[in-house]
Amino acid sequence: VNLDLDPAQRDLVAAVRRSAATAPAAATGWRVFDAIGLTDLLTSTNDGRPVVGLFEWCLILEELGADCRSLAVIRSVRMFMDVFVHGHTAAATPLAAETFLALAGSHRAPLPSPLLTWRRTGADELVLSPGTGLTEVATTLPGVTLEKREAEHITDRDLLACSAYAVGIGRRCLELAHERARKRVVARRRLLEYQGVSHRLAEVALELSAARIGVWRTAWREDAGEPAGHLAPATAAACVAAVLTSAHTAVQIFGAAGTSDPTIVGLYRAAYDLADVCGSARSLWLRASSRWGSQARGV
């Protein structure tokens, strides 16, 4: 049992960080990733498994969250890969893979969004359709409707990816709050020297580390062919709670400045946007509990 990244994973994280550091401020998460030049890897497989598995996607998304890059396009790309390329559903076709490669290779301008739209039906099916971002090159891509079980699997994987992004936002909040506490002097002592401040930061670090471990272990099991089941909403619940705690802590440590500083305010909003995407921690725990009960009964 260990949480070590392998060398390729560490290189991937470092590459995303480097790309984020040099990308224009307005560049989306997808542009940051695409600039690394590893886009072809997304369609590669090794022994029938994607080279970039969900675990690697989570590493990428944590870094993009930590740099507060837009999630929308890359989230679509990731789901597109799941549905149409890597065979997590019956909709996978070689044609779709070629379509994606054409799409990925053809864009030079910022990629229009969305690539993919999706909505749930009353029967818990998932209806996916090509978005406006695909119209130029993807006329052959069919819209698909995934039945309940497939839909659940696809949306669980999406939930885990969004959870990783949430950990990234939380990490950024913690880093900025820690930096502020390290430099800010109040009553001739650095803020960090006050136990009330340092322990609050340590609590956030602990909560975020648990959230990240939840993401990693669930994604690792997914890649090993073990569907996340109740762990997907459980992980998202822990991540939503952690990112909100981190965001509130960052504002608190910055004091009044935290309510006006564009970066802190942006992170605070991003944290709540993530809660909106994933659902509230309470609702997610309820979903996890309900699924856990169903699994226990073999439903």
Partner: protein, 370 residues
């Protein structure tokens, strides 16, 4: 990453299981420890010449976790093998290693830590116990407390003041005290959770020339490492796991409507315990020899302790009142004991305030986990 035990760890766990399954369940736990020791399973991370197997700390962790889960008194195993044994292994002389480690590894000798003194809180520098030179050895006098399973112990690692200095960190030395010597008094002190603490009074107790561990007057430099040896979190993890399993079994005895209300919390506990377990194993995996990174150990200890505390609190607040007093069984008794023991998990082996200080010294989280 790897979210499951490695084959070597699984093999060790199976070996432990065979020995635990093969014995008389009514036997004195010390006999079980001796059986495990005969198979070199109590300290697999010790070198072969000292009764171990020369394996890694992570492999020892898998064994320790299984021993704890079995219900054996893991605190005595932890203190003997990790806190005292690893201190001897790391800082002791060759003579000390050869004399003490084989019986420890074979489960024939138990040891205690005598560091804390009354009213000193968590400050191990507040030491009134003294060691004065006596011929080629020492005479030790003082009172130590908050020690457990000391009535089983033959030796203890004891801190004592051997000199004064400009700072209270200076002049502290560590000794291996033979608890069978004249002048040693061991008196139990009640403890809410059951097995007692012991107050150990030493009155002019003779300690030989080979009892000093590390350099004279420089014991303070060793103390953080001594304490870190017992800070892996696995003792707390074992409590979290066993309390969770007891709660799950008891939950199954409830009517469906009560079960549905309470089950949601179990999902959260299961989730937290699994994450804490990964942290604890990761800390052991990344150890350099016997030394676990203190920041990772702090994460692991807090995560494991708090997961266990959350389960105990929930059991006391929500589950046990619903279950009622009758009929009693071992699971309910265990959960009632858990309620009493839970507060200790963020007090013993360094209180949570110290762990938070350590974590705050190395933020962001990426540094600790990669």
């Amino acid at each position: 990453m790897l979210a499951e035990l490695e084959p070597g760890q699984i093999t060790l766990v199976h070996e432990v299981d065979r020995i635990l399954d093969g014995g008389d369940s009514e036997a004195d736990p010390r006999h079980v420890f001796a059986r495990l020791g005969r198979q070199r399973l109590l300290a697999v991370h010790y070198p072969v010449e000292y009764g171990g197997r020369g394996l890694s700390l992570a492999e020892h962790a898998a064994v320790a976790e299984r021993i704890s889960e079995s219900g054996l008194p893991d605190t005595v195993h932890l203190v003997t093998v990790q806190a005292v044994g690893c201190t001897i292994l790391t800082f002791g002389t060759e003579h000390q290693r050869a004399r003490w480690l084989p019986p420890i590894a074979h489960g024939l000798l138990f040891a205690s830590l005598l560091l804390s003194e009354e009213d000193a809180g968590s400050d191990p520098t507040r030491i009134d116990t003294t060691a004065v030179p006596d011929g080629d050895g020492w005479r030790i006098s003082g009172v130590k407390t908050w020690s457990m399973w000391t009535d089983w112990s033959t030796i203890a690692l004891c801190s004592a003041r051997t000199g004064s200095g400009a700072h209270h960190y200076q002049g502290i030395s560590l000794f291996l005290v033979d608890l069978t010597e004249d002048g040693v008094g061991i008196v139990p002190r009640s403890r809410a959770a059951g097995d007692p603490y012991f107050v150990v009074t030493m009155n002019d107790v003779r300690a030989g020339a080979d009892s000093l561990v590390g350099e004279l007057h420089r014991g303070w430099a060793l103390l953080p490492t001594v304490i870190d040896f017992e800070r892996g979190g696995f003792d707390h993890l074992a409590r979290a796991t066993s309390w969770l399993r007891a709660a799950e079994r008891e939950l199954q005895t409830l009517p469906p409507e009560s079960r549905a209300v309470l089950a949601g919390s179990l999902v959260q506990f299961e989730y937290a315990v699994t994450n804490a377990r990964l942290l604890a194993y990761h800390a052991a995996h990344r150890a350099e020899g016997l030394l676990v990174d203190e920041v990772m150990a702090a994460y692991a200890k807090l995560a494991c302790g708090r997961a266990a505390q959350a389960i105990a609190r929930w059991a006391g607040e929500e589950l046990l009142p619903v279950l009622g007093a009758e009929p009693d069984n071992s699971d309910r008794a265990a959960l009632r004991a858990a309620v009493l023991e839970a507060p200790e998990l963020t007090i013993c082996s360094g209180p949570q305030e110290l762990q938070l200080d350590v974590i705050a010294s190395e933020i962001p989280i990426g540094m600790a986990l990669r």
